[in-house]
Symmetry: C2
Subunit: 227 residues, 2 copies
DNA sequence: ATGGTAAGTAATTAAATACTTACTTAAACA
DNA sequence: TGTTTAAGTAAGTATTTAATTACTTACCAT
């Protein structure tokens, strides 16, 4: 019995064992905690120990619910994709016209990032890798759905005569998403993501100038507004 | 003398000692090698050992020329900032009109990224950190200079009557840079940066619609101009 | 020539850190 | 109620990796 000192050893838990929850609810808690930690730290710097102790759990316990650390980030991204798309779809469908829908989506996206500044950090981390990772595929799927939403709105706008004739819809979709992403990058470089809020409306106004039909385009100078 | 076997030990270099270069030229070589390695690997995955062996040097030798690994990436970013700004300034000054200058800068930036796909990877890595790092400051400086270049061109365009009345110049600068950055992000998600080349011209055309004076704007659909 | 400087080497080190293991026990359920 | 199962624990381990060290030697100015 003396020789056993080195390996197994008697282990009576010092900390009163944390209430046992189902894997399902723990997974959700882990995802939420990871997302919370990214709000003021680099995702790359978040260790499994950090995560576990942030939720009052032992480090090893995480691996009862996720097979690997990567799987945790993948789940985070899935959560994000689902919620962002819901938010953007809501914004789109609550608007009165397609063009207003685009504006609503633009502002909703910006608001989402301001509330969840950790999300772009997770994406940035993944964009470093040239090879295709599962997480990158998930982000790509999100982007694809996003592009479809925008393209749909653009088509509706076109059908309603709100767009300038000959507008290149695929390019317009790329520019739309790119504008938001560029805004995000610039604000994160500056340090305060909140900057985006003020910058977003004038930038969208410009975007609208790029695609809108001449009649609406005239809205810029209010005094000569037909209709 | 026998006891000394463990620590110092006789060390006759097995590998014939590499030709000795000045710190200055070694620094340049290290920066170039780092940049080269980022073309097909994540910057985060590049270890000092990787770097050293890629240039046929011992790992420890790197630290004769840079005080830390971070300092290497900082030097890389300095190199990038200098060369990118030179390239963009060249593009701007070789154009015939301010608007053509904007187009040339846009395309030159895209071309630069296609040739150096590792550069955005380094930037993405840094954007993860919420806190301000020296490297982030360097990128911010680059961005500031970039914005000044764009703003200058916009002002020239405005003075030449090429812009729509009332165009929001700061927002136009943000949208310009954001468009390129967004293009980069989307193409890196897709995996092939080369995609950008084809996407860039139509996206810039749209940008031009956003800011250009109506006369040029009408070029799109000459026959039907309602109102 | 020659002595000092600094660029080079191989080996070591200290700190992290993802994941595993051996064991414990709360809770679901038959 | 007793048994099973799965969520929990503490304590490993294996590996990676930036930086340091002790020593060697090429190169250059005097």
């Amino acid at each position: 019995m003396l020789a056993d000192l080195k390996h197994p050893v008697m282990r009576t838990p010092v900390r009163p064992v944390r209430s046992r929850l189902s894997t399902e609810s723990r997974q959700a808690e882990i995802v939420a905690t990871a997302l919370r930690l990214t709000q003021d730290r680099s995702p790359a710097s978040i260790t499994t120990t950090d995560l576990a102790s942030a939720m009052g759990l032992s480090q090893g316990a995480l691996f009862k619910h996720f097979p690997s650390k990567d799987a945790i980030w993948l789940a985070v991204m899935s959560w994000v994709a689902e919620h962002l798309l819901l938010t953007l779809n809501d914004a789109a469908s609550s608007a009165k016209s397609p063009l207003e829908g685009l504006r609503a989506v633009f502002l909703a996206h910006v608001a989402f990032v301001v509330e969840q500044p950790g999300v772009p950090r997770v994406i940035f981390q993944e964009l470093q890798h040239p090879e295709d990772t599962p997480l990158k595929a998930r982000v790509r799927g999100l982007m694809q759905a996003y592009r479809m939403l925008i393209t749909g709105l653009l088509q509706q706008a076109q059908a309603a005569g709100q767009l300038a004739a000959g507008t290149d819809l695929p390019a317009a979709a790329v520019l739309f998403i790119g504008s938001v992403q560029g805004l995000v990058m610039q604000s994160m470089l500056g340090g305060q993501v909140g900057t985006m809020r003020a910058l977003a409306p004038p930038v969208f106004d410009l975007y609208q100038q790029a695609i809108a039909a001449p009649t609406i385009r005239a809205r810029r100078t209010p005094e000569e507004n037909p209709e």
